[in-house]
């Protein structure tokens, strides 16, 4: 029997079948769920995307950013800009939102990479503030008070009419369903893309840089290039998510779109609670986060206080998060990236 190198485990094979069934169920959700659950799922999926990209940055790239709101806000404003000023359709504009975030990510990285570790974190935050203050000066998009997407643009959006006819729903509900499906595609592409990236040569290099930068450099990994790649990828994805979130909201203001609480604090808590440095972590984290939010929604600031204290407790007691605890006990990984040797005389498994 020939040797083979694989990253699959029995658990991951079961997970991929279960995942496929879950995806089919999620795609079909609008056919039997009401508008409330669709909006909740949209929120969960978009937060999941933001969390995955922050996790890629911090968990794999070792770059703790507190300035992700710069890319959410920039993506959102780029979408509003091209829709309002150029009259483009909002759906394809989502891609341009990613491009806009990518464009501001280049100078951001140029400045922020001059700062190390903790100072990088606050540096990204300062730059996000600069972008927010500059955008607030943009009078054609409402300046500090913000603006709305014109009704004509949201009414004739791509696919909305087809969804209205096939599902027999009103225009507003059809827009929510469209946003939900786009969020689902984005979330699947994000998880799939990050999983693919981590299994390639680049992913190995990334893990090496995270574990020990000097050692990684000594075996020929270009650490600086890996940092740039991770930072730009994450900015692009975060910008797309920002564009999509505000396409669904259809109303924007600088303070909301560049909110450090909504787009960075929540995201950090999701990743830390779920488990940093794993793909499963943000998935677990976003579900815990949503459950907590539903439970504590009526208690205002107690909710954020609980999240803060919970994040501190998890960081001290179980730094690998809830998924890390589970994975350590059971050895189960749904997205394994460790390569194992199978087959031949070395193998003990009957394959």
């Amino acid at each position: 029997m020939a040797y083979s190198v694989t990253t699959q485990t029995p658990a991951s094979r079961i997970a991929s079948i279960a995942g496929l069934i879950l995806i089919i169920a999620l795609v079909a959700l609008p056919f039997f769920a009401g508008r409330g659950p669709i909006q909740d799922m949209f929120f969960i999926l978009t937060m999941l995307v933001l969390a995955q990209f922050w996790n890629l940055l911090a968990g794999y790239g070792g770059l703790v950013s507190i300035g992700q709101q710069a890319f959410v806000g920039m993506g959102a404003y780029a979408l509003f800009g091209v829709v309002i000023l150029l009259g483009l359709d909002p759906v394809p504009s989502i891609l341009l939102a990613g491009v806009a975030a990518l464009i501001i990510a280049v100078p951001t990285a140029f400045f922020a990479f001059r700062l190390n570790g903790a100072y990088f974190a606050i540096g990204t935050w300062v730059i996000a503030e600069v972008v927010r203050l500059l955008v607030a000066q943009w009078k054609t998009l409402g300046g500090g008070t913000g603006t709305s997407l014109p009704r004509s643009a949201t009414k004739d959006m791509w696919f909305v009419e087809i969804i209205e006819e096939t599902l027999g729903v009103r225009s507003a509900a059809a827009r929510d369903i469209l946003a939900y499906w786009l969020a689902l595609v984005l979330a699947l592409a994000t998880i799939g893309g990050i999983y693919w990236l981590l299994r390639t040569r680049r992913g190995l290099a990334l893990a090496a840089v995270r574990d020990n930068m000097e050692a990684a450099k000594s075996v020929g990994v270009d650490a600086a290039r890996m940092k740039w790649m991770v930072f730009l990828t994450s900015a692009f994805g975060t910008g797309i998510a920002g564009g999509l979130i505000y396409m669904q909201k259809a109303r924007i203001s600088p303070d909301a779109a560049f909110s450090v609480t909504d787009w960075t604090a929540y995201v950090i808590f999701i990743v830390v609670i779920g488990g940093i440095g794993t793909i499963e972590g943000p998935i677990v984290g976003v579900l815990v986060f949503f459950a907590l939010q539903s439970l504590l929604a009526d208690f205002g600031s107690w909710y954020l206080m609980t999240l803060g204290v919970l994040a501190i407790a998890i960081m001290l007691i179980a730094p690998r998060g809830l998924w890390g605890l589970f994975s350590e006990r059971t050895g189960i990984q749904l997205f394994p990236i460790r390569r194992t040797l199978r087959g031949g005389k070395l193998s003990e498994t009957k394959e």
Partner: protein, 287 residues
């Protein structure tokens, strides 16, 4: 003449920012820890002073003196029981724990004191001004700046003239070797954070006397403090003062041109320094 006035006001404002930054600089210099809750601790200090003023009827300066030992103990305990556990090679735990602390503290203040903005009671002293030629200077801004200079002189004396300062420097250079000489790094770190929170109390006093405050302004104070520290160069206290002055002058000049540009001008000055001198104006040799 208006420009001279603007620049002098900016320099005096820089004193306040240097007070915000001195505690951050001290803690970073000794244990390489960046406390993301620093701004919220300043705001908490201001509320503590306000509480003493309203409950006991103390004048603000006396209330701050009473608050100082309380804040010292709080900082000591915070470091000893929480932050010391996060120190190590991995930069994630201290960052994420202090970020969690920042959010928790902000919302605890919001829950206790509501979102209404508050102010420490003003007296004749706080509104007085002195005439220096054609320029009128507020006594409060002058006092703030003088306090910043005094705090920095005191910290430098502490660092280079006392036994505790020697222990600080030794632990900062090499905690393991220092512990072989009978120094307990955990206690040294706790004392350093305690002292940082005493400086935070002084900063909080002038913050509360100068303008309104509410539970949400902490992060912005953290950002100004951080900019002052980076501009000055990590670990240099006089550099931190100069950093504060640069931010202060940039802000007042920005505000003189267009009131909406005040904060933006400060950030842009910071980015320009970062562009020209990535390690700040007075970087320490080994970092």
């Amino acid at each position: 003449m208006i420009w001279v006035d603007t620049i002098i006001q900016g320099i005096l404002l820089g004193g306040l920012y240097a007070l915000f930054a001195a505690g951050l600089s001290l803690v970073f210099g000794i244990m390489r820890l960046v406390n993301l809750a620093h701004g919220d601790l300043i705001v908490m200090g201001a509320y503590l002073i306000l509480l003493l003023v309203t409950l006991l009827g103390l004048p603000p300066f006396l209330a701050a003196a009473v608050a100082m030992p309380v804040m010292f103990c709080l900082g000591w305990a915070l470091q000893k029981f929480l932050l010391n556990r996060t120190l190590g090679d991995d930069i994630l735990p201290p960052l994420l724990v202090t970020f969690g602390l920042s959010i928790a503290l902000q919302n605890a203040l919001l829950e206790t004191f509501s979102a209404d903005s508050q102010r420490l009671p003003t007296s004749a002293l706080t509104t007085a001004s002195v005439q220096a030629g054609p320029i009128s200077l507020g006594v409060m801004p002058l006092l703030t700046f003088a306090s910043a200079v005094l705090v920095i002189i005191a910290l430098n004396q502490l660092f280079y003239r006392t036994e505790l300062g020697r222990a600080f420097r030794a632990t900062s250079d090499d905690a393991t070797t220092a512990s072989l000489m009978g120094i307990k790094p955990a206690n040294i770190f706790a004392t350093a954070t305690g002292i940082a929170l005493v400086i935070v109390t002084i900063a909080a006093l002038y913050l509360g006397l100068r303008a309104n405050f509410d539970p949400n302004i902490g992060p912005a104070r953290l950002i100004y403090a951080f900019e002052a520290v980076i501009i000055g160069g990590l670990g240099s206290l006089w550099g931190t003062l100069l950093g504060g002055i640069i931010i202060g002058v940039a802000q007042t000049i920005g505000a003189a041109v267009n009131p909406e540009w005040q904060i933006l001008a400060g950030h842009i000055a910071f980015l320009l320094v970062l562009l020209v001198r990535p390690r700040g104006l007075f970087p320490r040799a080994n970092d």
